[in-house]
């Protein structure tokens, strides 16, 4: 599956090679671009596995600062597999999250100010006024299912149990409702 998005990986790989080539002299522009590219993916991983937005932000910094450090030291030998490397680092870092505060502080001193100032490609949440309108275009049952699903990321089994429905039925309602919400929020439906 990882080969399906080869051009994206190439973009990341190109940036990784630039960081490797710069070594200790640092290529700040490449670092900022690679950070912007990878941070949303790392943040999503963190939010899924840590279920906490602040800790997910911490994970972004931990993983990407460590990645840049290793790139600039020439310790990552396959820059074309940078996304895979970052995923592995995410998995390990979540396991080790409660350790390494001192290391994080040291890396922040080196790289942090530049990268935080650059921001990343993460999209913000949709406009709540638009969402309020779009929510009202759903049936009442769909509204209940999506509220319960999204409010605290409840799986279909939990929603189904609370509503006396089959999980498969909840998935169908959820899927239909989400597609309608996305079209409405995107402006394709009134």
């Amino acid at each position: 599956m990882a080969t399906e998005a080869v051009d994206n990986a190439y973009d990341d790989a190109t940036l990784a090679r630039r960081i490797i080539a710069a070594g200790p002299a640092r290529d700040a522009a490449a670092e900022a671009r690679l950070y912007a590219s990878l941070a949303p993916r790392v943040r999503l991983y963190g939010r899924k596995h840590l279920r906490d937005a602040q800790r997910a932000d911490d994970l972004v910094q931990d993983v990407l600062l460590m990645t840049f450090d290793r790139l600039s030291r020439g310790e990552i030998r396959e820059p074309e597999r940078i996304a895979s490397f970052v995923l592995g680092a995410c998995r390990q870092t979540v396991i080790d999250l409660k350790r390494g505060e001192a290391r994080r502080a040291r890396l922040l001193d080196t790289y942090g100010a530049d990268l935080v100032a650059e921001g990343d490609d993460d999209a913000g949440p949709p406009d709540t006024q638009r969402l309020e309108h779009c929510l009202e275009t759903l049936s009442h049952r769909e509204r209940t299912v999506v509220l319960m699903t999204f409010y605290d990321d409840s799986p279909a089994e939990a929603v189904a149990q609370a509503l006396g429905l089959a999980p498969g039925n909840v998935r169908v309602i959820r899927h239909r409702a989400v597609e309608r919400l996305r079209r409405c929020i995107g402006g394709a439906e009134p």
Binding site: E4, P125, E132, F150, A162, L163, H175
Partner: protein, 192 residues
Amino acid sequence: MKARVTCAAPLETSELLGYWLGELPAEREAEVEEHLFACRECSAALGELVALGDAFRALLAGGGAAGVVPPEFVARLKAAGLRVREYRMEPQGSIDCTIAPHDDLVLAHLEAPLEGVERLDVVIHEIEARRTQRLEDVGFSAASREVVVVPKARDLRGIDKASQRVELIAVSPAGERLLGTYTFHHSRYRRG
């Protein structure tokens, strides 16, 4: 820096949701995770879904969402830190109610004999305004003895004095059956 290529095998929305909600088998979850890290487009699609959840939470906390929810959901709202003012009523009940400045939400537990009910409609009569709204086929559990109606807190804050009559109606091919009537007399919050 925006994605500039199209993923050759984009993950379906249902699979992205399944991944996010922890519904996928472990092996498939790992495959999806690999794909997400390699694919900016699918990752962005997942990001949109996650942002939707953020917006739902903001909407509820801001009093801009209304609906009918099962009682289990109320516990989750409170566990998330929302300050919830609750009213509980039996059929044919009547109650004085309000919303305080520090309340995030106001909700009404309407007790009713729901066993055997397949479809439930909620009819809301705004008495002074002479308006009626029918919420058809709301989400509920027949095993539960109540439904919870959540009005928009933001709208309640703007009301000085008003009354509402709410009816729960069981709908079946044989016809409709009134399960209960509940009357709310809302007035603006007065300290003390």
